[in-house]
């Protein structure tokens, strides 16, 4: 990599230990991804927040560096393990809560906005087209590259943190123009959000950096979000473009059979003991839609609804929260289905969800059975 005099000096430790550490991470990441230089970024979104995933080593590391480190650009944060307002109802042990609060404190000390959200693209204004950002959350990185005209690598927790501290990121392949050499052709009519999630999961397995998605007419916000969530879960692909792509592009069909294969891989149960909605977290529009669908109906089993805190506040002001709670929903801010410590296999055999991302992590990390259903069917079959 070509480094400027400042970057070289920082790497040698002339701007302090934290800058040296941050540049060591950026250079190691850049060399590993064939970047030739570093470029300025305007917004970093960090993963590595949930104590369930980063553990003691992560908590100790963040606590140590937060004594000196400060972020230089706008920096937002992925969900953590629970919602402080109702954590006492979920039987989490004291150690988990204390370690999670320490992680929260460390990020706040460094100047990070405690957004605890995996949908930064829905709760913040999007910068102008072509702006370089560093998003570590996979669904957010894919959304930024594919739908928001921003540029980001699919960052690791560490490269995004180093980018937040330095305001720079490696100029890796995703920041340059990438022309996909693979097209996934959607072969299903009128797909629901579950089908979009499975399409994303399928495409993410095949696409290395970027894919075209053809055969889609009008994908609404919810469908696109499901596509991003599924894609980020199964591989390293960090961008999709709607269309057929360049002539001679390899085309792979996502037909009924391909969808059935994804379904069979992730769906391991005929029914769920409880329902989870939100992975990625629900936005305000989805909260409003759900409140509308539940008018006059009530869930017959527990239903956990995950959203960002700002969305919960807006939903409360709009009257949605009251309607959802009346229908039996438990609304949780600051956390998400994905990698939640609030669902454990000692208490729950299986869950029902419409989220492919949630399904993948609940199955593999929490070890619970998965029953996949689109939201319309969940409301129809699980409420009265």
């Amino acid at each position: 990599m070509e480094l400027t005099k400042y970057e070289e000096a920082a790497l040698k430790g002339e701007h302090g230990e934290i800058m040296q550490l941050a540049y060591r991470i950026l250079v190691a990441t850049g060399e590993a991804t064939d970047a030739e230089r570093l470029v300025p970024i305007e917004w970093a979104h960090l993963s590595g927040v949930n104590y369930n995933t980063i553990g003691d080593a992560g908590e100790e590391f963040l606590s140590r560096i937060s004594r000196e480190a400060k972020v230089r650009v706008k920096t937002t944060l992925n969900p953590m393990g629970f919602d402080v307002d109702n954590v006492s109802q979920y039987g989490l042990d004291e150690n988990f809560i204390n370690k999670q609060l320490s992680i929260k404190q460390s990020y706040e000390t460094m100047g990070v906005t405690p957004s605890f959200s995996c949908i930064p693209y829905e709760i913040y204004d999007i910068p102008k087209a072509e702006t370089q950002v560093s998003f570590a959350e996979s669904n957010a990185a894919i959304h930024a590259n594919s739908l928001d005209s921003l540029k980001t690598n699919k960052e690791s927790a560490f490269s995004a943190l180093a980018s937040a501290i330095t305001g720079q990121s490696p100029y890796s392949s995703m920041r340059r123009e990438v022309e996909p050499d693979l097209t996934i052709k959607m072969g299903l009519d009128e797909p629901d959000e579950l089908a979009y999630g499975m399409l994303g999961f399928f495409a993410g397995k095949l696409g290395e950096d970027s894919v075209n998605i053809s055969g889609i007419k009008d994908a609404d916000r919810r469908s696109c979000k499901a596509l991003c969530g599924g894609m980020g879960t199964s591989g390293t692909c960090a961008k999709f473009s709607f269309g057929s792509g360049k002539p001679g592009c390899e085309v792979v069909d996502f037909d009924k059979k391909a969808m059935q294969e994804v379904h069979d891989e992730l769906n391991t149960s005929e029914k769920g003991d409880l329902i989870t909605l939100g992975s990625p977290q629900l936005g305000l529009e989805e909260m409003g839609d759900l409140a509308g669908m539940l008018k006059g109906r009530s869930f017959q089993k527990r239903c956990m609804v995950f959203c960002p805190r700002t969305v919960k506040e807006q939903a409360t002001a709009a009257g949605y929260t009251a309607e959802l709670e009346r229908a039996g929903c438990e609304i949780l801010a600051d956390c998400c289905t994905c990698l939640t410590p609030l669902i454990c296999k000692d208490e729950v055999d299986s869950i029902t969800t419409n989220s492919i991302k949630g399904a993948y992590y609940l199955k593999n990390s929490n070890g619970v059975g998965i029953n996949l259903k689109p939201l319309s069917k969940i409301v129809k079959e699980e409420t009265r």
Binding site: L21, R24, A28, E31
Partner: protein, 129 residues
């Protein structure tokens, strides 16, 4: 030698594995001992060695395992791989452990028990004795 991912200097005795290493699942974060029975360097401690292996695999959180073994004094003196991966790259960057990428031919020629001196600022970078 193909690339320097993390700069530095170190020397020590080679511990070579032909299997990729998943730091999150297979390395004890206190002792640095390989705990996976199916791994070709099972039960060996990586501490103080020049650890030579194809690449890292598995969750990027494995980078914190590398940071932990360093904090516990049981990290390798340096790591040498044939394929760059982000988990080992960021782990070595966090823990300030020199990390080199070498060619397949060089990898084949290195054997467990050899002594290696490494200095990314010198002309030779690697000297195998």
């Amino acid at each position: 030698m193909k690339k320097v991912l993390v700069r530095g200097s170190a020397q020590g005795v080679v511990l070579k594995s032909n299997d990729p290493i998943n730091f999150l699942g297979t390395v004890d974060k206190k002792t640095g001992v390989i705990t996976d029975k199916n791994h070709d360097i099972y039960a060996k401690p990586v501490g103080g060695t020049m650890l030579v292996f194809p690449s890292g695999v598995g969750s990027s959180v494995g980078a914190y395992t590398i940071y932990s073994i360093k904090s516990n004094g049981s990290a390798p003196a340096a790591m040498i791989c044939t394929k760059p991966d982000l988990t080992v790259a960021t782990g070595c960057a966090l823990a300030d452990i020199p990390l080199l990428i070498i060619s397949e031919e060089e990898f084949t020629s290195i054997k467990t028990g050899q002594h290696i001196s490494l200095d990314t600022d010198s002309e030779d970078v690697i000297i195998i004795q």
